[in-house]
Amino acid sequence: MLDELRQTCRRLLQDGTVQAVIGYGRPSPEDPVVPVFITKPEDVDQLAWDDQCFANLVKYLLRKEVLSLGKLAVCVKGCDQRALLVLEKESQIDRSQIVVIGLACDGVGKPRLAKCASCDVHTPRQSDFVIGKANTPDAAATVAERYAELDAFLAKPPEERMAYWKKELSRCVKCYACRQVCPMCYCRQCIVDKNRPVSISTSATLKGNFAWHITRAFHLAGRCVGCDECTRACPAGIDLRLLNLSLAKAAEENFDYRSGMDPEKEPIIGAYSQQDHEEFIR
């Protein structure tokens, strides 16, 4: 699979289809897997593919430091590809200008990350190339299965849930790693960076932290694709996945919508219709 990946990337660079490939790689064999930006065909041997390929590389399609490289190819896992679709729907990327290399994936992490347990996109869709073959069948996850973790949490009394969030969010230092890794966080000025006047307290106090995380969650409603990068990136180990699952469940239950899954469906927050049943929108 790795050979196929390297050959594909070499060809894309050699024939000038792209100027850079965003992929996973080890700059030297003893290094951990990191995002790499391959610009020369002879460097494709740096590319790696294993269960340590965590990062959602789609984020880099929004970074000017990477866009400056020229036309790009990007390696995506099935879950990452969902972000690509949302960005396309939200007119943040020109899909025709990006070469998408899908990597069939059996899950990442040792043990597997939580998101991998209910994964039904082991093989990336809408990709220009799909490399490899997933050995894990896509989980025919029902709504109940997909949100089992959330439902277990929601079954607890409200006081207990509030105590949980107070304890967890008290550790937030507002490093904004959750925002920076998120492919859906592309506001030119994040609301927490608005300081004339201040919209959201910049203090990493319990109040300021609730304000940040609730706002962040609402901005992701119907948009978050569940790549769980925020949860992985959090240096305080806050399980933001729980908040995101809650939003995803609301979107699925009320609108029969899973973000980044169906290219035919318009985004529930971003789309406008004359037939909307809410009068205030019409």
């Binding site: 990191v34 984020k59 000017k64 939580a114 230092v173 790693a177 300081n195 240096p235």
Partner: protein, 339 residues
Amino acid sequence: MSELLDKTDLNRLVDAWLSEGRRVAGPQCVNAKDSRGQADRIQYAWLTKAEELRLDGFIRPTNSIKEFVFPRHEKLYGYQFKGKRLELTPAELPTTEQVVIGARPCDAAALKILDAVFNWDVKDEFYNRRRELTTVVTLACKEHDDFCFCTSVGSGPCDERGSDVLLIPIDGERYEVRCLTEKGKKLLAGATTASSEEATAPQGPPVRFNLDALGEFLAGGYDRPEWPEITRRCLGCGACAYTCPTCHCFDIVDEGSASGGARVRNWDACQFTMFTAHASGHNPRSDQSQRQRQRIHHKFQIYPDKFGELLCTGCGNCSRNCPVDMGVLPVLKTIAAKK
């Protein structure tokens, strides 16, 4: 001759300090799932009982002890509008004595570095008061991981800088105790037993890069063309700075309503776009590579030029907490490889 203390007595001491009204902070499991499915997440945090204290079974906490002398959020003073008058109320300075137990040497050494910053111009009364109230009991490191690089920046697993007491493990249950300051002696007075047994100094990680080569690279100019390539994967969050024991930048903001509020200082980080944004809209560090360059220059050139030592103790938290495995070490290794 040496002084020894066993783990049970150490725990008893922690409980005694707590019952005497001191605040005690140390490594504990914060019960959060580790996102990479690894071990429990250990952070320095205030303890309510000795039982919560974790001294082994992990490399180092994912945060730093700077929080206890330089909190992430601190009120500087209050303000109240009274008609056309403005009334200022000074913030109360802390008065409670505190102990940091089980600090790592790379954390304790950072306190000396912070001392210099918070006293070179204005003597920061909040920082200094907390520092006076704090006794640091450090635990020498028996183990290291691939992120640790203390020995590459002139530190090591038994570095005594910044510590009031250094504990060196003899086995899983006993520690050799070295009281390094009067504060340390006072805290542990009568708690240890004399012995002829001495701990063997644990080994640190191998030296991972050549500091002199780095100095040459940095002295070679601010506009070196390598920076964008070296730093391209940085996503611009503050995880490195906020978990770094030596990073100390802060932002001062007013929080309140039309009738009054407080002037507070919050941690800030040089990797944020907003860090250098001018009111005009101009940003002298508009590119992530410029912000990364600043971080490395500050740690290995600007601070050393001013204060004579590095602004880095090699704890490795910047890489350990980086979502894309960057931080100081990979950057310096890349620079060294370019030489």
